[in-house]
C-alpha cells in the first residue's frame, strides 16, 4: 500500500528512518557486538543495555519501550493501519518480552535467539519503509 506523496507522508518516512536508527539499531547492537562464545552473564548485560538503555546520551537514558511509545504518540492513523505495521508492532513487543530473561533466575536464551528476536524489529521496519517510500 503506497502512501500519498505529501509532505506529511515525507514526515512519516523521516520518522520511520529515525526509528530505524534510534530503536532498531541499538536494540540489536549490544548483543551483536558480543563474541560468538559470550557467557550468559555477558549476554544478560548486553540484553539489559539493549532493552533498558537503548538510547543513552550523557545522563539521558531511554528504554526501547519508551522510544517505541514516543513514536506511537506521533504516528498518523494511515501508518498505524498499514498492513505491515502490525508485524512491526508485534516484533517490538516480542523484543520487549525478552526482558524477562534479565531476571537471573530465568534461563538466558541462546545468543542467536536473542539476535533473531531483536533483529526482527529492523527487518519489519525495513519492509515498512520500503513500502512507504514513494
Amino acid at each position: 500500500m503506497m502512501p500519498p506523496h505529501t509532505s506529511d507522508a515525507d514526515d512519516v518516512l523521516e520518522g520511520l528512518l529515525d526509528l530505524q536508527h534510534d530503536l532498531a539499531k541499538y536494540l540489536r547492537m549490544p548483543v551483536a557486538m558480543l563474541p560468538a562464545d559470550a557467557s550468559a552473564s555477558d549476554l544478560r548485560a548486553a540484553l539489559h543495555q539493549a532493552l533498558l538503555e537503548t538510547r543513552r546520551r550523557g545522563t539521558d537514558t531511554r528504554t526501547a519501550w519508551q522510544l517505541w511509545q514516543s513514536f506511537l504518540d506521533n504516528a498518523p492513523p494511515a501508518l498505524v493501519s498499514h498492513p505491515r505495521f502490525a508485524a512491526l508492532s508485534q516484533s517490538v513487543s516480542a523484543a520487549w518480552q525478552l526482558r524477562e530473561a534479565l531476571d537471573e533466575s530465568r534461563p538466558m536464551p541462546p545468543r542467536q535467539t536473542l539476535l533473531d528476536t531483536l533483529g526482527a524489529v529492523a527487518t519489519h521496519l525495513q519492509h515498512l519503509i520500503a513500502e512507504w517510500t514513494p
Binding site: E14, L17, D18, Q20, H21, A24, K25, Y26, R28, M29, P30, A32, M33, L34, P35, A36, Q49, R55, R56, R57, L115, A122, L125, Q126
Partner: protein, 566 residues
C-alpha cells in the same frame, strides 16, 4: 607507520561503540580527546576536525559513526541542502568528506548499520578511500577485521620490492585488492592509461603474491601480427601454417603453473577471444594444427589501456569473455594526475634509480670529485629556493625551482609514471652533464646543490604535450638515424605518445646528449605529422609557414627524408 598499540579516534555522539571497543578490542587504544573528560570519543564533526588539525600525527585511524543527534550548529551540511533530519542521519558522510579534504591519508572506517547505509549517498566519499563496517551477523569479528585492514593500510610502506606505491589512499586500496585477487585461479583485469605500470604490477605483485611456482610470462598483443596471435597464445605444430617450421609452445603452456599476462587484450581478434573463453572455462588449449588438447593451469591477468566494458559496448570485445574475466573485481590503476600527493615521492625515487645506473653514477662521482666530495653518495631532490642545507657530508642534490615544480604539478602526465620516470632521468642526466662540462672546462663550482634548469623541465614537458596532437597515423618505429628506440603508446583517447630515453656514454657532453634527444624527438614528430614539415612547424613553432626552418633543423640533426622511405 602505526604505533605498537594503534591510537584510534572514535567520532560518535553516543557511547555504545566506545564501550564495545574498549571491552572487546583491547588491541587498539581509543583516544581520550579531552584530558579532563573520561569520554573516549569525540561527539561531532567540527570538534573532530579541530582535534585532528592539532593532533593528526597522533592518530593512526578514525572510526566514524554515521548518525549524529547533535545541535544543528555542530553539523556539517550535506551537499544537496538536505533537511535537518537527513543531515543528522548522514552526518558521517559529511564528516568523511571533511576528513578526506584535509587529511587525505588518514584511514577511516565508517560505522553504520545496514539499515542506515545508503550507498548511493555515501559512495562518492567512500570510493577507494574508506572502509565501511556494516552491522551483520558477526559484528565484532567484522569490526575487528575492518580496523585491522585500515591500520594495515596506514602502515603500508610506500615502496616495496621495486614497486612504488606512494601514499595515496587509492593505491592502498588497490594494493589490498590485488593481494586478494592474486590468490586462486580467477582471472584479473588491469585497466589503466599507458604508463601506469600495469605490466610491472602484474609481474612484481600479482605473480609474486599468487604463490604459484611456474613462470611469469607476458604476451603483448599489440606487437604481434593478428594472424599469428593464436600461435603465440596456444602454440602451433610444425607445418600448421606457412612458416611454422617447427613445433612451438604457446604462452599458455610456457606459463603452466605460473602467471600469464596478456597485455593489450583489446587487440585480440573476436575469434581468438572465443578461444580464450574456452581456455578460461576448460583450462585446456589446442595448439594450432594439433589434434589433441593440452591441460594448462595458468593464472591469467589481462591488461588494457582502454575500458573493456566500452569495447564490449562497441562490439569489439565479446561480452561472454568479458564476464568470464570477472569484471566486478577489475582493477583500475589511477593516472598520475589523480595522485598529485605522490609526485614528490615518485620524483625522488626515480632520481635515485637513475643514479643507480653506472654511467650516471660516474657523472655524479665526477661532479663530487670536482666539489672535493666523496664518491658514491646518493643524490637528493630539493624543491624551491630554500632547500635544506647540503654540504660535503650530505651529498649532492638536484634543486627544482618552485615555479618549475608548480608546472610539474599542473602537468597532465599523459604518459603517467613512465613519463615522470623519463623526465626525472633526463633532468638528472642533463643537470649532471652540465656540471661535468663546466668542471672539465675549469669552471669552479662550490655548492653541492645543482639547480635544475627550469627551461629544460618546461621543454621536456612540452615535448610530451606535442604528442597529444590528434593523429591517426601509426606510431614511430626505430629511429632511422640513431638506431635508438622511441616507444609508441596508444591511450584511452586513441592518441599516440612517445617516450624518449637518453642513453649516455661517460664521455658525452651536454650538447651531444641534447642533440641525441632532439633527434629522437624530431624523428617521432616527423612520422606523427605524416612527414609534413608544415605540420611540424605548426606544432613546434605555432606557424606552419616556418616549415623551411624546421626542415633545416631536421637536416642539421643528421636526419634524412630518404631514410624514412625505406
Amino acid at each position: 607507520m602505526t604505533r605498537a598499540v594503534p591510537q584510534v579516534l572514535l567520532i560518535d555522539d553516543g557511547d555504545h561503540y566506545a564501550e564495545v571497543i574498549q571491552r572487546h578490542i583491547p588491541e587498539i587504544a581509543l583516544i581520550q580527546p579531552l584530558p579532563d573528560a573520561p569520554r573516549r570519543a569525540i561527539g561531532d564533526g567540527p570538534a573532530a576536525i579541530a582535534y585532528l588539525s592539532q593532533h593528526s600525527d597522533a592518530v593512526d585511524a578514525v572510526l566514524l559513526d554515521m548518525h549524529f543527534d547533535v545541535p544543528e550548529t555542530h553539523l556539517y551540511p550535506l551537499a544537496d541542502g538536505a533537511s535537518l533530519r537527513r543531515t543528522r542521519r548522514f552526518q558521517g558522510v559529511a564528516i568523511l568528506r571533511e576528513i578526506r579534504a584535509r587529511f587525505p591519508h588518514l584511514p577511516v572506517v565508517l560505522l553504520t548499520s545496514r539499515e542506515d547505509l545508503a550507498l548511493a549517498d555515501a559512495s562518492f566519499a567512500l570510493a577507494g578511500q574508506s572502509m565501511t563496517y556494516v552491522l551483520g551477523t558477526n559484528d565484532l569479528d567484522t569490526l575487528r577485521i575492518r580496523i585491522h585492514a585500515a591500520l594495515s593500510d596506514a602502515g603500508q610502506v610506500a615502496e616495496e620490492a621495486h614497486i612504488l606505491w606512494g601514499a595515496d589512499p587509492v593505491m592502498r586500496t588497490l594494493r589490498r585488492r590485488m593481494q586478494v585477487l592474486a590468490r586462486g585461479r580467477m582471472p584479473v583485469i588491469l585497466e589503466g592509461e599507458t604508463g601506469t605500470g600495469k605490466s610491472w604490477l602484474a609481474e612484481k605483485f600479482i605473480h609474486v603474491h599468487s604463490g604459484r611456482s611456474g613462470a611469469f610470462v607476458v604476451l603483448d598483443l599489440s606487437t604481434i601480427p593478428t594472424d599469428l596471435i593464436p600461435a603465440h597464445l596456444f602454440g602451433a605444430v610444425k607445418g600448421a601454417y606457412t612458416g611454422a617450421i617447427e613445433t612451438r609452445k604457446g604462452v599458455f603452456e610456457v606459463a603452466h603453473k605460473g602467471t600469464l599476462l596478456i597485455d593489450e587484450i583489446q587487440n585480440a581478434p573476436l575469434d581468438v577471444q572465443k578461444q580464450l573463453l574456452f581456455v578460461l572455462q576448460e583450462q585446456r588449449i589446442r595448439p594450432v594444427g594439433a589434434h589433441r588438447e593440452v591441460a594448462v593451469d595458468v593464472k591469467v591477468v589481462v591488461a588494457s589501456n582502454r575500458l573493456l566494458h566500452s569495447e564490449v559496448a562497441q562490439g569489439r570485445f565479446r561480452s561472454d569473455l568479458y564476464m568470464r574475466l570477472s569484471p566486478a573485481t577489475r582493477i583500475h590503476i589511477p593516472p598520475l594526475r589523480q595522485r598529485p600527493g605522490d609526485l614528490r615521492f615518485l620524483a625522488e625515487r626515480f632520481v635515485a634509480r637513475t643514479v643507480a645506473d653506472p654511467d650516471v653514477a660516474a657523472l655524479r662521482d665526477e661532479v663530487a670529485r670536482g666539489l672535493g666530495m666523496a664518491a658514491g653518495m646518493p643524490i637528493a631532490l630539493d624543491i624551491g629556493r630554500t632547500p635544506p642545507h647540503r654540504d660535503s657530508d650530505t651529498g649532492i642534490s638536484l634543486t627544482i625551482p618552485e615555479p618549475a615544480w608548480r608546472t610539474m604539478h599542473a602537468h597532465a602526465w599523459p604518459g603517467n609514471i613512465r613519463e615522470l620516470e623519463t623526465l626525472m632521468h633526463n633532468i638528472a642526466v642533463f643537470t649532471l652533464v652540465g656540471a661535468v662540462d663546466a668542471i672539465r672546462q675549469g669552471v669552479r663550482i662550490t655548492s653541492p646543490q645543482l639547480q635544475v634548469d627550469p627551461g629544460l623541465i618546461g621543454e621536456l614537458l612540452r615535448a610530451t604535450q606535442l604528442s597529444l596532437v590528434p593523429d591517426t597515423a601509426p606510431g614511430p618505429g626505430p629511429d632511422p638515424a640513431s638506431g635508438t628506440d622511441t616507444a609508441p603508446d596508444t591511450d584511452t583517447d586513441g592518441a599516440h605518445r612517445d617516450q624518449v630515453m637518453v642513453h649516455i656514454a661517460r664521455a658525452d657532453t651536454l650538447n651531444s646528449v641534447a642533440k641525441h634527444v632532439e633527434r629522437q624527438y624530431f624523428t617521432a614528430l616527423y612520422q606523427r605529422c605524416h612527414r609534413d614539415f608544415a605540420q611540424m612547424a605548426r606544432v613546434l613553432l605555432g606557424d606552419e609557414t616556418k616549415a623551411r626552418a624546421v626542415r633545416l633543423r631536421f637536416n642539421q640533426l643528421g636526419l634524412k627524408v630518404r631514410d624514412f622511405d625505406r
